[in-house]
Symmetry: C2
């Protein structure tokens, strides 16, 4: 069993308030044999749901395709409001190699699902990350810039907005970004303020694109009346969660603010959590083999 | 495979300087089929080695018995010096239920190994923890009080020192405590001082026996010229590692001291590390299912 190929997909849907809609999407994904939905994170302010699923590559590809089909029926982007950048009912679908799968195989899987969404569901699709065909589309932010509303206005007229698959026009399901990437940790820090401008300043200070920490993407948003620094850590081995959080705390202190709490969206690898525990607990010479469960993993003869 | 019974044993040997001696003991344990030695912690100041092994109950029992037989041949307690309390070459052998094994079964296993060490190796053995036959022997500290030297003088004359198995006299291998207990986390914090009296005061402040935190045992010792608070956390779910460490840090600050680093001896469960990570990172609503690897554990059909 342990050599069975395993991928993760973390489709993001533009619905974080109607749990019946999210449930129907999740059921469609989980209905495919061997696909396991291991986490569902709904956020009412972002008006967004993040579904984490694992399984063999073909099964996961089929699952997220079915989820996208249901989302296209139930979510109307013309009626969608939310603070997170988004372009479609199924906003983004990343494929992540976990075990016994190469990144190239995940790229092929992403393009296969992208083609099906474009051709069968008639939804414009943009390839991103490792699956991108245009270098400027490697970054998801470039594809989502201006959100659904801007894309709707430009898709048929601006050649730089031409989709990789599907029609060059958006309907109520909007558009979808499909890609392949390495494991990412989505981690949000809430501040004791409703001043979103402060969260944006802190985000600019900590993220790589404006001079901060490598492998950190960050934006400032207002969630449930509380300012939040929303981060993606794209290489936790080199820039760990605790370092990103400590810098957020330090920058927040500059404004007399503190972090009230944080949230982990979806999954994190054991190594990332063990790394944080060992850093804060000051454990020298810690190795992941000291985690009891790592010895329960490899006991197959 | 996942329903296979699994126990842990963490025998402690009174040798932390001669690695050839420790290697021979470890080889004897690991020589038993299906026994996995997953951690060996040698400490020169404590002059002590802590071996962590896992496997099916009978295999682990045989492994630690063979380790005790080798230790009896190679370690002379009359020549042993070290700062940690100890009574024998094989000082203590705990059995811990991990999976598919009850505490009662570990108690039976402990008594079976205790009998063999007493009868076959002619070493006095004291049953402790859940395996204790006298209530005053539940605590290991009571059995080890005064160390090897005191035991040697009293064992034949003081009825309260009569062993549960084996002869009422000690040879060069000393005596051994054998017992059963739940999972324990051994965690040591080093201070930026050589003043062991300060470490002892801090240990008294944080441990349960003198008014501190429940489920924490602590002593102050000098290790490599540095004062150390050496702790056993006997119920990490109720009194977690981070709380014990934070109290040590607070008490240390009272004397103008800081913790320079810590060490985890042997293993800790994933839950304990995830708990610490979530606390320091302030992750609300964290659940252990957010650790990627927990989904790789249970994939057997």
């Amino acid at each position: 069993m342990s050599s069975q190929a395993l991928v993760e997909s973390v489709p993001n849907f533009s619905e974080g308030r109607r749990s019946d809609v999210v449930n129907r999407i999740v059921e469609a994904i989980a209905g495919v044999p061997n696909v396991r939905v291991v986490d569902v994170h709904m956020d009412a302010s972002h008006n967004r749901a993040v579904v984490t699923c694992l399984g063999p590559p073909d099964a996961v590809a089929e699952g997220v395709f079915r989820g996208a089909a249901v989302a296209a029926q139930l979510i109307d982007m013309n009626a969608h409001q939310g603070v997170h950048p988004r372009i479609g009912a199924t906003d983004v679908i990343p494929f992540v190699p976990l075990r016994g799968v190469t990144m190239d195989e995940c790229v092929a899987l992403a393009r296969q699902v992208a083609r099906r969404i474009g051709e069968e569901l008639r939804i414009p699709v943009y390839l991103y990350g490792e699956a991108a065909r245009r270098p400027e589309r490697r970054e998801l932010a470039a594809i989502r810039r201006g959100g659904y509303e801007t894309l709707k206005a430009k898709i048929g007229v601006d050649p730089s907005r031409a989709p990789d698959f599907g029609p060059a026009q958006v309907g109520s399901a909007g558009a979808t970004a499909v890609g392949a990437r390495f494991f990412l940790i989505a981690f949000n820090a809430y501040l004791n303020t409703d001043d979103v401008a402060k969260a944006r300043r802190i985000a600019r200070a900590v993220r790589a694109s404006s001079g901060g920490l490598q492998h950190v993407q960050a934006i400032g948003v207002l969630v449930g009346g509380q300012a939040q620094v929303s981060m993606n850590l794209t290489d936790y081995r080199r820039t760990p969660v605790h370092r990103a959080l400590e810098l957020v705390r330090r920058e927040a202190a500059r404004y007399g603010l503190v972090v009230t709490h944080t949230e982990l969206v979806g999954l994190a690898p054991l190594e990332a959590l063990a790394q944080a525990a060992a850093w804060y607990l000051q454990i020298d010479n810690f190795h992941v083999g000291q985690v009891l469960e790592t010895h329960l993993l490899d006991e197959d003869p």
